[in-house]
Amino acid sequence: MFSFQPDRSQYPDIGPDGKFEIDLETGKFLKLWQGPNHPGITGNMSVELTVNGDEVVEGKTHVGYLHRGFEKLMERRTFIQVFPIVCRVCVPEPDFNEYCYAAAVEELAGIETPEKAKWIRALILEMGRFNSYMMSIGGIGGALGNGIVGQWLTYVRDLMLDRFEELTGARIYHMFILPGGVRAGLPEGFEGRMEEVLATAERYLDDTEKLLFTNAVFKKRTKGVGYIDPALFESYGVTGPNARAGGVAKDVRKDSPYLVYDQLDFDVPVEHDSDIWARATVRYRDLRVTIDLLRQILAKMPKTGEVMTSLPNVLHWKIPRGETYIKGESSRGEYGYYLVTDGSGYPRRVNVRGPSYTHAMALLEHLIPGTNIADVAALMVSLHTYPPEIER
């Protein structure tokens, strides 16, 4: 009926390199910082935007607000002492750190993990994924102005945190997956209480679907926005749901099964639009898969068995020289630990490969130009990035 210009103003000139020519002195542009103290930023990071009107012509991400020098700290801790700090690398989904680190140490030290411990690890990882997706979908709702979703799903996440607490003894940093196994088995009646949580979660997710995923405004805000060309996935290192939203069924759980994922029955949901909508939807569908996986794990888990192997005295535990890379499919994509040992009692180098590292830096900077200010937060949330794993 009405045809406004399809693209918004082309006011900034396009330079020979295909980028906007920006000269702040002209007064046409305004520098605008989002973050680190900003409710729309997923954590403590910032984006330096150059705007023209309310169109963003350039975005630079700035990280380092959460930098604690983990990889350095790990180098002066013994192998067991590293264990409590790895989980801190990623606050909302710490378990992948614990798993990847433990698995890397086990591989280099030649330790076998008991079968039951593998199941419990998978359980923990899926519970973590559940929480992470809850935060992510709630965050997408929040970033686009629908706080109710965030409220509901944070509540559901709280319920899952209760299960976490019951199983691991802690709410956020579980410190449960030790090299050699896990700290303890399931408490009495855990399955039943978990089922209650899952049922509640499903109820809230049904409501969320009605509220968010069949919502005209939400569709309007997300469809076609933040499109990532699937051809760029490899060059920008896009993994996980972000890739699955663009039709690439990348999932480490399927591609290179670890723990007990080869014994579990699940499909990897794929969307094809590669925009914010697709990314949100693929997460939502993946969350449903996760709920199913949790049920499967609890049903198929062996009822008895050791959960921990005896370790050599960890106070002077030395691991021969070697290097390895362990990866897992976190809720945001490929999560990996690159561990180098040199035969001493300390890791030579630990490198954490968080998916946010590629998603929030190069990719986000690539995506931001040309969007509206209002979409920057949504874009960031849709990429589902956690700053602590970028800077570590």
């Binding site: 520098k31 910082w33 973050g35 680190p36 103290n37 900003h38 409710p39 954590g43 403590n44 910032s46 380092g64 607000y65 959460l66 930098h67 604690r68 020098g69 350095k72 700290l73 180098e75 002066r76 801790r77 013994t78 002492q81 409590p84 700090i85 801190r88 606050v91 909302p92 965030g150 409220q151 509901w152 944070t154 509540y155 996440r157 709280d158 945190l161 709410r171 956020i172 940093y173 300390y346 602590p388």
Partner: protein, 230 residues
């Protein structure tokens, strides 16, 4: 734990190279005036804040304190891990709103700065800025062990250990990280402090401004930052 390298000496010689636009210089204004500008002057906030005395009337002050205690507006600045446990407080499970606690996105409208965990030097700079922008009286709560004595990151080259060196802290909550319940308990304690009129951190900051600034400058070398980054 690896032994400390006793021979290691921190590089105290090298000054942080001041970017060109940060140097003091003379500028000609459009109407031809020549003025001195010193961009860093602003960032340092050399001007000490005013010490605000309490109201002369104890009853009025009491009423004010009651109001302040029951309308705690927290700056939604998640400085570290602890931020993740602040979120449940805003949501149905814990619903801190019913205690008069709310979140504000801008420091100008906040009364309470919750330092949620460790502060990297880079964030410390922003936290100080945010704190200085908050209107008085303002309160600081140190959430988690990291704020008390460095916590997990006691040997990190990039995180501070004692928050009270840099900001006047009213209350600490132990934990790594503290659960929402503990945080809530802390906020309730803070309310009691405010009601008793004992939460005068802002005045403490103003009175010992030089000390705080010296401490801050000892760890922050690059003071350049956009003055509105929230």
């Amino acid at each position: 734990m690896k032994d400390i390298d006793k021979s290691f000496k921190k590089d105290t010689e090298t000054d942080f190279p001041l970017r060109e636009e940060m140097r003091p210089r003379k500028v000609t204004t459009p109407d031809g005036q020549v003025i001195d500008i010193d961009p860093l002057q602003d960032y340092f906030c050399q001007e000490p804040p005013k010490v605000h005395r309490k109201s002369y009337s104890a009853i009025v002050e009491g009423f004010y304190n009651w109001a302040r205690a029951n309308s705690l507006w927290i700056l939604g600045f998640g400085t570290g891990c602890g931020a993740i446990e602040m979120r449940p407080l805003m949501t149905p499970r814990f619903d801190a709103y019913r205690y008069g606690i709310q979140w504000r996105p801008t420091p100008r409208q906040s009364n309470l700065l919750v330092i949620s965990g460790y502060l990297s030097v880079k964030t410390l700079k922003r936290a100080i800025r945010a704190y200085e922008q908050m209107p008085q009286p303002k309160y600081v709560v140190g959430l988690g062990s990291c704020t008390i004595n460095g916590g997990m990151y006691w040997d990190s080259y990039n995180t501070i250990k004692k928050l009270d060196e840099y900001l006047p802290v009213d209350l600490y909550i132990a934990g790594c990280m503290p659960r929402p319940e503990a945080l809530l308990a802390g906020l309730m304690d803070l309310k009691k402090l405010i009601r008793k009129g004992e939460a005068e951190g802002a005045n403490r900051y103003a009175e010992n401004f030089d000390w705080y600034k010296a401490n801050q400058k000892s760890v922050i070398k690059d003071w350049d930052m956009p003055d509105y980054s929230w």
